[in-house]
């Protein structure tokens, strides 16, 4: 069973395999989870004393989404940075991560705003505001987006969340710098 959906020009193909009972999005295995799951993974990363859990969470997000986005960016209609950032924003929205906008970018830097965020909305709904930025999943996604958009390998960009919805701001801001 397959189903095609259009997200602002980004065509996505969803499929369900009745034999394995797996769902795929353009061939990639994916699964629905809730904000409790994402928030508790993030809290685990935050509290992890034995290693840098925050960077680990950002790294696995970057590595996962770099592969996904690089696949989309191989499409002939997604060659310019503007087309690729637009597609990345649509994918971000399609998978329920929120609303993200790349407001400025070059090969060496980027500025990103996030008026709505799954992770932040879920964190606030579950525990209320916190005193620090916690969207490590979002940081990883943005690092993946910039690397894929500029045809660079993973871990080419450092992303810092400078303003955070979870910490009480109206929207989140991220700063991107080439490493």
């Amino acid at each position: 069973m397959t189903n095609q959906t259009n997200h602002g020009g980004l065509q996505l193909t969803l499929a369900f395999d009745p034999r394995t009972c797996r769902h795929t999005l353009d061939g990639q295995s994916y699964v629905m989870h809730c904000h409790h799951y994402a928030a508790l993974y993030t809290q685990l990363a935050e509290d992890c004393g034995m290693l840098d859990g925050k960077q680990l969470l950002a790294d696995v997000a970057e590595e996962t989404f770099h592969g996904v986005l690089s696949g989309y960016f191989a499409r002939p209609e997604l060659t310019s940075p503007a087309e690729r950032f637009g597609a990345g924003e649509q994918y971000f929205r399609a998978i329920g991560m929120g609303l993200m906008k790349v407001t400025a970018a070059g090969p060496d830097y980027g500025e990103v705003t996030m008026p709505f965020s799954h992770l932040d909305a879920g964190w606030v709904k579950k525990w209320g505001n916190c005193d620090r930025p916690v969207n490590h999943l979002g940081r990883g996604f943005i690092a993946a987006l910039f690397a894929a958009a500029f045809d660079r390998p993973r871990h080419s960009y450092a992303v810092t969340e400078t303003v955070s919805i979870a910490a009480g701001a109206a929207e989140s801001h991220f700063s991107v710098v080439a490493g």
């Binding site: 369900f16 009745p18 685990l44 696995v60 996962t64």
Partner: protein, 204 residues
């Protein structure tokens, strides 16, 4: 058994999670996300294989707990949803046992695991077998000595909490953690299926 598992899977595997203009997916009283399974697997494996033997049980418990809370709250949202009422509700003759069987059909339909109840002693014990699940994907060669299905463990325990742990408590202070789950077999360990044994928590 009134539960038509095949029909539930056929119907509810078609449920689409459509994002709002804000890119959020509110459904079943929670916000839903649709991430690649590799992301969850990668975090869990790297965490548990980096913390060392002394802290491994703690890390594993925290991963299971994330799924336990998710399964409890989202599970309640599912069994009180319009989709459930339309598809599964008419099939329920015995409550809560049929609800449990129906919940595992939904669990399967949504791609968490192709899992079903193998044994059920009401209020006491449940054995679940999973014949395909994404958490086994962490191992692509050979067999590991470390079972990796933390999500399934948490959700199995949560479903027993909802069935036999008393009224649903949105704060999670009661009901949640009435049961716990151990993984006794795993596809990632070389077994033909994953097996999960849920029993009442000793402190209840």
């Amino acid at each position: 058994m009134a539960i038509d598992r095949k029909r539930i899977i056929e119907s509810l595997s078609r449920v689409k999670a459509t994002p709002t203009e804000q890119g959020l997916i509110p459904a079943f009283n929670v916000y839903v996300n649709q991430f690649p399974t590799a992301l969850w697997n990668s975090f869990a494996e790297r965490l548990t294989r980096n913390v060392g033997a002394n802290l491994l049980p703690v890390a594993e418990d925290l991963l299971v707990n994330a799924a336990h809370e998710c399964g409890y709250h989202t599970g309640y949202g599912i069994i009180t949803s319009e989709e459930w009422a339309a598809v599964v509700g008419p099939m329920i003759e015995r409550n809560p046992e049929d609800v449990l069987y129906g919940a595992f059909a939904v669990f399967t339909a949504w791609g968490w695991a192709k899992a079903d109840i193998a044994e059920l002693e009401p209020c006491k014990r449940m054995v679940v077998r999973a014949y395909d699940y994404y958490e086994a994907d962490s191992t692509v060669y050979g067999a590991t000595s470390k079972p990796s299905a933390y999500m399934i463990r948490g959700v199995c325990a949560a479903f027993m909490d909802l069935a036999y742990g008393g009224p649903y408590d949105p704060t999670g202070k009661t009901g949640l953690n009435s049961f716990h789950c151990a993984q006794t077999k795993g596809i990632e360990c070389g077994d033909d299926y994953g097996e999960f044994v849920v029993t009442a928590s000793s402190f209840v």
